[in-house]
């Protein structure tokens, strides 16, 4: 099919909106309602993930050293830690620095006066690269650090990290499930509308078949119509959501709500396009099978 032919058929599909405006508006509204549920789910997940990423930045592992460790051995441990995949930075915290930090936290309580010596060990604080901040990877890095000679103990928020990862996984599964359910609902809505359009334009289809139009030519206007419905509904939903977030949410919510990121918007529109196509193809299958 030539480009000119494609544009002619696309115009045919879009002209259907002018010929059956009530049908088109009803379809777009019902699809928009489904998309709104999906967009809100993605928005919630996106905002939680954004918060979790900022927590990720604070994901650290503390590697405590044995007492009176020679400087050469300490340097060797530092080199080994720096060479570990997923470790972004390594900072040495001497016994004195640890004590100063303790004093800052504990206020007036003087540890040295109480014990007669500084019991806090020197340590290395590892900050992890964002991609390495999964519970499993942190466990691996900590375990490798613990096996280095001269290392006495390794500490990190194991349980807290595992709970966070589980919660994120649950959230993503919920998002996926919502996308599947909404996908079915939208495909069904597009399918129903295109079916009605097919019924309203059965004369045209009959003529197309009679003069020898191929199935691709017969399908094309309806596919364009299905995609247009889904895309208009998706864009309308995003615009509505953006208006609500910018103008309404600051008055009712304490937390700042971020709108979807460009890649999420692109994914949402691509998903809408696919659903529009699927719904239209679904409704045309039967019509074209009867075209012999």
């Amino acid at each position: 099919m030539s480009l000119r032919g494609f544009f002619y058929l696309a115009r045919e599909g879009l002209a259907s909106a002018r010929r059956h405006p009530a049908l088109m508006v009803a379809a777009i509204l019902s699809i928009s309602a489904s998309f709104l549920v999906l967009a809100i789910t993605i928005l919630i997940t996106s905002n939680i993930e954004r918060s979790v990423h900022s927590l990720d930045n604070r994901r650290v592992i503390d590697v405590y050293l044995a007492e009176r460790i020679p400087a050469a051995k300490r340097a060797a441990i530092e080199s080994a830690l720096r060479a570990t995949a997923g470790v972004d930075s390594v900072r040495y915290i001497s016994k004195d620095e640890a004590l100063a930090a303790f004093r800052a936290d504990a206020g007036r309580y003087d540890l040295v006066e109480a014990l007669g010596y500084n019991p806090l060990p020197a340590s290395f604080r590892l900050e992890l690269a964002p991609g390495a901040a999964t519970a499993a990877r942190i466990e691996e890095i900590a375990s490798a650090a613990g096996e280095l000679e001269g290392v006495e103990d390794v500490r990190f928020g194991r349980e807290w990290l595992q709970r966070l990862d589980k919660a994120l996984l649950t959230l993503r599964l919920a998002e996926l499930l919502t996308a599947i359910l909404i996908g079915l609902a939208v495909a069904f809505a597009v399918n129903s509308t295109i079916r009605l359009t097919v019924l309203a334009r059965r004369d045209m289809i009959e003529i197309m078949k009679a003069v020898g139009a191929t199935n691709t030519y017969i399908r094309m206007p309806f596919l364009v119509e299905g995609v247009a419905q889904a895309l208009v509904a998706a864009l309308g939903t995003l615009i509505l959501l953006k208006i609500v977030i910018v103008n309404v949410s600051p008055r009712f919510l304490n937390a700042q709500v971020h709108f979807l990121e460009p890649r999420e918007i692109a994914g949402f529109l691509a998903f809408a396009t696919a659903l529009g196509l699927a719904g239209a193809l679904w409704s045309l299958g039967g019509v074209l099978r009867r075209s012999a």
């Binding site: 032919g5 004369d203 045209m204 197309m208 009679a210 003069v211 020898g212 191929t214 030519y217 012999a292």
Partner: protein, 232 residues
């Protein structure tokens, strides 16, 4: 050539529409098919467009055989056939010009000049070029059927299939339409005309075929076509 080779077709419920039909039609023939309602005349035309496939036997249209038909062959066959209907089947929300040009556009002709030239030529042939901006419902029944004829011939078909084309027309409009069908035939297109009224046939030039209960019987065959090809 169009060949029916012992072709039979029954519909669910047992109605026999084609009963062991043997019939051959040359390019350039004018064949008048008459018979009572339910005789199988429309099914005969539908078998040529492969809208209906025979249960037994075979239908061959040019190089396409019903027994070896692939999905992509059906549009290719139909582009060699023009069809006009009793109820015209025009798109009422488009102009006369667009109704005719539509047939070109959806069969892959997309050069605007070619579309314009061929559409206007077809409308000239049926005497409606001056009404090209009108919509179907602004025309009389006879004019609407002439638009249907223009749409059928705009693709320069080898055969024109006309299924009771004058069924909804007054006698004068019917006469005008048959005169146009004669012109299309003289220009080299084979015509298969289904009609209740065999009086339309010209016994010197036309083949007259009668159908009853799915059986085809040749009544009149002009001398130049008498060599063979029909059985029932």
């Amino acid at each position: 050539m169009i060949h029916f080779i012992h072709a039979s077709k029954s519909y669910p419920g047992g109605h026999v529409a084609l009963d062991d039909v043997c019939l051959s039609v040359d390019r350039g023939e004018f064949v008048v098919i008459s018979g009572p309602s339910g005789a199988g005349k429309s099914t005969l035309l539908k078998a040529i467009t492969f809208e209906v496939l025979p249960d037994r036997g075979e239908v061959i249209v040019e190089s396409f055989r019903s027994t070896a038909l692939k999905g992509r062959d059906v549009p290719r066959v139909r582009r060699q056939l023009g069809v006009i209907y009793q109820d015209f089947k025009l798109l009422k929300d488009r102009t006369i010009y667009d109704n005719v040009a539509f047939a070109l556009r959806i069969t892959g002709v997309d050069h605007p000049r070619a579309i314009q030239e061929r559409t206007l030529r077809a409308l000239h042939r049926v005497g409606l070029a001056h009404r090209r901006h009108a919509r179907p419902l602004e025309l009389s029944g006879g004019e609407q059927q002439r638009v249907g004829l223009a749409r059928a011939i705009v693709l320069d078909p080898l055969y024109l299939l006309a299924d009771e084309p004058a069924g909804n027309l007054d006698p004068r409009a019917g006469d005008e339409l048959f005169a146009l069908l004669r012109e299309v035939h003289l220009a080299g297109t084979g015509v298969l005309l289904v009609t209740h009224n065999p009086g339309r046939a010209d016994s010197r030039r036309d083949r007259l075929v009668h159908m009853e209960n799915g059986i085809v019987r040749e009544l009149v065959r002009p001398l130049r076509h008498a060599a063979g090809g029909v059985g029932a």
